[in-house]
């Protein structure tokens, strides 16, 4: 009788050990899960100090004709003239040719930071609005464009198409995109002269008056 009861109690203890192990692992996973719920992965930078970054702008020289035309064809279709300026070969400002710009060094000037991509459809309607606002406010506000998941040739063809004259760069590896927790392109951040995020706009800004209001608010701050 004693012989048979001893292994049974040992077996029971082993069973409890396993149960305890499963319970511990389960509790740890549950803790991680709750931590995850309380710290969602994509909390957009909506206020406070804007994350600092440096960007190196695209080459401002237009792409060679042999590259530009097929790229425009691919991005906008055969009748790309519908979107683009008449002279797509016009060089963009040399002052922003492969220059490195650091956000924190722009303190004192409000910044409009736009995330875009050459493959993004809704960016097509927004780009002319941004360019004309830049031309209007360039003495008071700095505009910066960062292209997301993009390629040099396509991005430069895009900039030629809209004759974009404010500094634009590739967001290499999506680092700035991740730092701002952007959810998708286009998205625009309005950073005040102190370097704080004053406003943001998710998706394409629909018309010039909304963009104008946002910029006016930024200047008045």
């Amino acid at each position: 009788m004693t012989q048979s009861s001893q292994p049974q109690s040992k077996k029971k203890r082993g069973g409890y050990g396993l149960l305890a192990l499963i319970a511990i692992v389960g509790l740890v996973l549950l803790a991680v899960f709750y931590y995850g719920i309380l710290h969602p992965p994509s909390q957009r930078a909506e206020s406070g100090q804007a994350p600092d970054f440096t960007m190196t702008t695209y080459v401002s020289e237009p792409l060679p004709e042999a590259d530009l035309k097929p790229a425009l064809n691919d991005l906008f279709g055969a009748n790309y003239g519908r979107y683009c300026v008449d002279d797509v070969n016009k060089p963009r400002p040399a002052e922003y040719d492969q220059v490195t710009i650091k956000l924190s060094e722009l303190k004192g000037t409000p910044v409009v930071l736009n995330f875009w991509a050459s493959w993004c459809t809704t960016c097509k309607d927004e780009q002319p609005l941004l360019e004309s606002a830049w031309r209007h406010y360039k003495d008071q506000v700095m505009f910066l464009g960062l292209s997301h998941l993009d390629q040099d040739k396509n991005a430069r063809a895009w900039l030629q198409c809209y004759d974009v004259t404010y500094p634009n760069a590739l967001d290499k590896g999506g680092k700035v995109y991740n730092a701002y927790h952007v959810q998708g392109v286009p998205e625009t951040f309005f950073i005040d002269a102190e370097g704080n995020i004053a406003d943001y706009y998710v998706g394409a800004i629909p018309n010039a008056s909304i963009l104008d209001q946002l910029i006016q608010k930024l200047i008045r701050k």
Binding site: G17, L18, V32, G173
Partner: protein, 179 residues
């Protein structure tokens, strides 16, 4: 008759010419060699659409994916190796194209779950091995202490509990009744 045949022949030649002039194969717009095509497909199957959820690059229909596939073809034509191409993509697009979830929020589960399962598996294996090694000694004791094989069966019988004995008795009784 001869004339119509001739016209048909000329038409056929013209149409074939027109078909050839259509340009490159839509499945191979960059005129890759069959080896390069196979490699391009292989790379596409290792990368993921950066703006979708769990869509592989080779089956993704987004514009961003089309641009990525074009870039792969162009880099292959430049003579770059598979690893060089993947490295360049990670550098330019980020690790998102490797299909890795960011190490934050609920996504942390994806990183911790495998480790937890491995730990649980090891724990289970350890527990099982302990159980097995613990079970052996009584049998060995029975063999070495019992001497002749007959005592082994005695030892085995001794393991029967009262319940088992009742059951055996019932089976024997019922068998006897049937006979």
């Amino acid at each position: 008759m001869k004339k119509s045949l001739l016209i048909a022949f000329i038409l056929l030649i013209l149409l074939t010419g027109a078909a050839l002039a259509q340009g490159s194969d839509p499945n191979n717009p960059h005129d890759l060699t069959p080896e390069q095509q196979a490699l391009a497909k292989e790379i596409q199957m290792e990368l993921w659409c950066p703006i979708c959820q769990g869509v592989r690059l080779d089956v993704c229909e987004q514009k961003v994916c089309q641009q990525m596939r074009d870039m792969i073809d162009e880099m292959l034509k430049e003579g770059k190796t598979k690893q060089e191409i993947i490295d360049e993509f990670v550098d330019q697009y980020g690790v998102v194209i490797l299909g890795e979830p960011p190490k934050e929020g609920v996504n942390l589960m994806a990183w911790l779950m495998p480790a937890a399962l491995v730990l649980a598996g090891l724990g289970f294996a350890f527990w099982m091995s302990k159980k097995w090694t613990q079970q052996k000694p009584p049998a060995e004791i029975a063999v070495t202490d019992g001497g002749p094989p007959s005592s082994v069966s005695d030892g085995a019988e001794a393991d029967f509990s009262a319940e088992d004995e009742d059951y055996l008795a019932r089976v024997e009784r019922e068998l006897a009744e049937d006979l």
